[in-house]
């Protein structure tokens, strides 16, 4: 993985998307946030954004494989990383961060996961 600087994060749940995006920003990336597959495609069709890596939740994109396929048909020079769970998404973000543009790493990526779990648990309690 190259030290790419612009990431498109595709995640349908704001409770996951926001902390994950902030984590990647702390690591020195410019992060664009897409809440669904349509937004992701819209962003990827905008060359000015210079997106180099897509980190996508497979649930959000309907089928993440479809997004990867679409990227291929568009001949876009972006790497698509698909995550099937929040744990995987955080792991991948940790990997990007490890090799990312900034030298100083903000915090361990498992802390991001702990934080997301806390927010999700709080939301579940609130909904009961």
């Amino acid at each position: 993985m190259s030290a790419s600087a612009v990431v498109l994060l595709v995640e349908g749940d704001i409770a996951i998307r926001h902390p994950l995006a902030e984590y990647l920003r702390e690591c020195g990336f410019t992060v664009f946030e897409a809440a669904n597959g349509d937004e992701a495609m819209h962003a990827l069709q905008t060359p000015e954004l210079q997106i180099e890596v897509v980190l996508a939740d497979m649930m959000t994109t309907g089928s993440g494989f479809g997004l990867r396929q679409w990227v291929r048909t568009q001949s876009l020079a972006v790497e698509v990383i698909l995550a099937g769970s929040v744990e995987k998404a955080v792991d991948h973000a940790g990997g990007l961060c490890h090799e990312g543009p900034a030298l100083a790493k903000p915090y361990q990526h498992h802390l991001v996961l702990d934080h997301i779990r806390q927010v999700l648990a709080r939301r579940e309690r609130g909904q009961r």
Binding site: A15, E22, E33, A43, L49, L111, H115, V119, R122, R123
Partner: protein, 134 residues
């Protein structure tokens, strides 16, 4: 910024919840605000924004588009916020706004990006100081 401040705990930096379903418009205002050291939470619909606030997410200011897909317009979100979180300021942005339910501030679209970002950042910083003091 410690992680505890990233989303849940009272923030030390001003935080704006930007609600806009048009991703390129949202990216533009979000990035302009981040350049001004504002923490921006991006929501693609009013429902998503409400979910963020209802699960304890913090904000000093909400800047919301009016016409969006989902169960609520920005105007309806603004009314709901003003009832549930009266201390939280809301600005609705719209090209054409005719919702009589919302009597608060409305910014016309298209808005000047830099000027608007600077004003929003100032308003958020002000609210942030009040929030920390409360």
């Amino acid at each position: 910024m410690p992680l505890s401040e990233a989303s849940a705990a009272p923030a030390s930096e001003p935080r704006i919840l930007v609600v806009e379903d048009e991703p390129l418009i949202r990216f533009a205002i979000a990035e302009a605000l981040r350049e001004l050291d504002v923490c921006v939470v991006e929501a693609a619909t009013a429902d998503e924004a409400w979910g963020y606030l209802a699960s304890g997410g913090q904000a000093d200011l909400v800047f919301t588009d009016h016409l969006m897909p989902g169960s609520m317009t920005g105007g309806q979100l603004a009314v709901r916020i003003s009832q549930q979180y009266p201390a939280l300021k809301v600005i609705v942005v719209s090209a054409y706004f005719n919702d009589r339910g919302w009597s608060g501030r409305v910014v016309r679209k298209p808005y000047k990006l830099q000027e608007t970002a600077v004003e929003l950042a100032e308003l958020a910083a002000q609210s942030n100081r009040n929030r920390i003091e409360r």
